[in-house]
């Protein structure tokens, strides 16, 4: 999974963070949403509900927000990230 995220960060478009994830879900641009394991449950349910409405896949990343941030190659943590364009990665097709 980490390698797929790395490829998306390199070749595709992703937006890290709760606010931007919600924005991409609302406009329908998000293709997939990843949620870290230690995301607060209310926020997690909110993102899941919106993703259900937008018919976007949700992947519960096995790892907490620090690990998800590291997987994205960033020096900060990230609880929620949305993938708007997968690029060369097969993250969208393999997780169906």
């Amino acid at each position: 999974m980490n390698s797929r995220i790395k490829l998306v960060m390199k070749s595709g478009k992703a937006s890290l963070g709760y606010k931007s994830a919600l924005k991409s879900l609302r406009t329908g641009r998000a293709k997939m949403v990843l949620i870290a394991s230690n995301c607060p449950p209310l926020r997690k349910s909110e993102v899941e509900y919106l993703a259900m409405l937008a018919k976007t896949t949700v992947h519960h990343y096995s790892g907490d927000n620090t690990e998800l941030g590291t997987a994205c190659g960033k020096l900060f943590n990230c609880s929620v990230m949305s993938i708007t364009d997968a690029g060369d990665s097969d993250i969208l097709s393999s997780k169906e």
């Binding site: 609302r26 406009t27 329908g28 919106l50 259900m52 409405l53």
Partner: protein
């Protein structure tokens, strides 16, 4: 595809009408060029719902108490709105003409909205499909929090 389609029931999260339910009439993505440069939507909601009715009340009283709804119309930032999975099939686009949303004309718009809401509330059994019926009943129930 965007989530906020017209006819969708939403919950207002901020402002005077926070906690009230509304129906999306029109979604304006990417804002308009003058004052609202953010994506917003035009919603029509219930500011004050119909009064409670009990079994012992006469039919005339029930109808009188059911006609005490107060609607509102508002352009609201999409961030201050939470969509639900319910949909309502009231034909609101005809009732709410965009030009009529200033000043005195707004009162007229609200009057038509009140009538539409009340008619739908009293005739909830007439709605055919199950999905639409669930949406209507959800819309008129007060959100308890």
């Amino acid at each position: 595809m965007a989530i906020l389609k017209s006819g969708k029931v939403v919950i207002i999260l901020a402002g005077r009408h926070a906690g009230k339910k509304a129906v999306v009439i029109k979604n304006i993505e990417d804002g308009n060029n003058d004052d609202k440069r953010f994506s917003h939507c035009l919603v029509a909601g219930i500011a004050r719902g119909p009064r409670k009715v009990t079994r012992g009340m006469s039919k005339k009283k029930v109808e009188k108490r059911s006609r005490t709804m107060k609607p509102f119309v508002k352009y609201i930032n999409v961030r201050h709105v939470f969509p639900t999975r319910y949909q309502v099939d009231m034909d609101l686009k005809k009732a709410v003409d965009e030009a009529d949303l200033v000043g005195d004309k707004k009162v007229e718009v609200k009057k038509t909205l009140k009538k539409i809401f009340e008619d739908r509330y009293l005739n909830q059994k007439d709605v055919t499909s199950e999905k639409k019926a669930a949406g209507s009943s959800y819309f008129f129930q007060k959100l308890r929090f």
